[in-house]
Symmetry: C2
Subunit: 316 residues, 2 copies
Amino acid sequence: MISFSDIQHAVSVVAPVVHRTPLLTSRTFDNRSGNSVFLKAENLQRIGAFKIRGAYNKIAALSPEERARGVVAHSSGNHAQGVALASRLLGVNATIVMPRTSPENKVEATRAYGAAVVFSEDSSDDRERVAEEIRQREGRVPVPPFDDDMIIAGQGTVAVEIAEELKELDVLVVPVGGGGLIAGNAMAIKHLIPGVRVIGVETAGADDAARSFRAKQIVKIDPPKTIADGIRTQSLGRRPFEIIMKYVDDIVTVTDDQVIETMRFLMERMKTVVEPTGAVAPAAVYHNVLGQRGKKMCAIISGGNVNMKKLAKWLA
Amino acid sequence: MISFSDIQHAVSVVAPVVHRTPLLTSRTFDNRSGNSVFLKAENLQRIGAFKIRGAYNKIAALSPEERARGVVAHSSGNHAQGVALASRLLGVNATIVMPRTSPENKVEATRAYGAAVVFSEDSSDDRERVAEEIRQREGRVPVPPFDDDMIIAGQGTVAVEIAEELKELDVLVVPVGGGGLIAGNAMAIKHLIPGVRVIGVETAGADDAARSFRAKQIVKIDPPKTIADGIRTQSLGRRPFEIIMKYVDDIVTVTDDQVIETMRFLMERMKTVVEPTGAVAPAAVYHNVLGQRGKKMCAIISGGNVNMKKLAKWLA
């Protein structure tokens, strides 16, 4: 398991490259939630999502020999762009395996950063299989989406920024896919603000982490059906799971409809564009799924890379 | 005609109340435009548009006797919300005349700030007529949308923030409806950054200011058909026109399609929600209607109050 010093080191690596994203606030959101709410806007991060943090931290740590071999990654979207941009910034060749059903805008953006894209079937199993084949055939270094110490430490830099800005906090709310984001940030925020509660959020259709948390072992589910394409993972990674069991206080779920209503509020009132997965943690606060009042809460908006045609459908 | 000291005074009045909005940037926008571009995000202003600045400056300057009489205003949307919120903040009773075709969200927001809404026909003539009737009948003080010294001075506070942050600037690009925004900001920016060029932008269907600028006299057009509902004014105000002829260098037009494409880019890549009128000035820079390269440009995003159902239609 990583320690907080790994996250501190990641801050020194990624801070020169990533945006220090703002904390958004809205009186209407506060009133609706009954809490004092800050939204960490990683939709305004480079590549439009937090994933650049972990990917850059990982690839920056490779040896010159490893960098020369190039990297391979598999992702439903934002990790792909994170690895693609981090690779370009560090002069490393990248191949990305993406499911055929990935949003078009994410595939285009990945290619635009100079990475080669190879398609797989939809399941995380098949993504992993195709990436493993490429690794063996081409000798590339894998950059896993979440089950990796350097990735987890990189994602944890979000909470360091939150703690520096807010100083005090009652609850940190984080979306859960493979668990990299919540693992790094749970560890970081508990180190920096003792007493804070960390709550994970999934959509009801992708509740493998909530089940795993209760069962105290990793539960694997069928390929989830949910609007939140960034958390369509079938199970938590082993490394994130260990950290989650130690540092996370609860994992709750929201419905796809609650996610859409929150996306609409964020656009209409706060003028910020968020992808479905990015609205998952805010939705738990907006709809007060946590059942708390008068708390100082921060929810992480994980990303904002939404396909405009799909968005039009959800808004109509 | 106002002088720059009126705008300086307006800064001292409105600064404690309004947000100091950020200047947004995007490498992709820069590359597309061929210029170094800053977007002044008044869509993130209170009420979602710059109009709170002028309205607050105006109502704050009323005598106690005038405040007791209450105010009346007419507006297609954002000025309504500006007057409504400014009135509430200053404890003044407000009645707002809005055309029946105003976006539903703007009518709702105006009422939510505590103002009474009275509907008129669509033309600016009829809006004015209804507001004048209410003024005479109820003794309320009119808060004009643009043809007023205090309003113009209040809107001019945008450019003071821009100049403080950017220090140097080649071109300031501003949307033109009744002319209050561009008049105040042309005067302010030319005082603070000598040598800057100020360019007004309208949509092709609402080009009364461009025509007036060339004719060197106020030209009145039929009620304009354009997606940009905030600039559906039929003619410039007399006071703004005088200032425009002295301080503005040119007025250009963009098409409704260029506006929609720019709105889509701002959402998809910059994650910021802008109403059609708010995208008018950025559209001129994005589509390089100005035909310049290598310049430091700032375009004002005037507002972000867009109806989600209409937005869905434009994105589809």
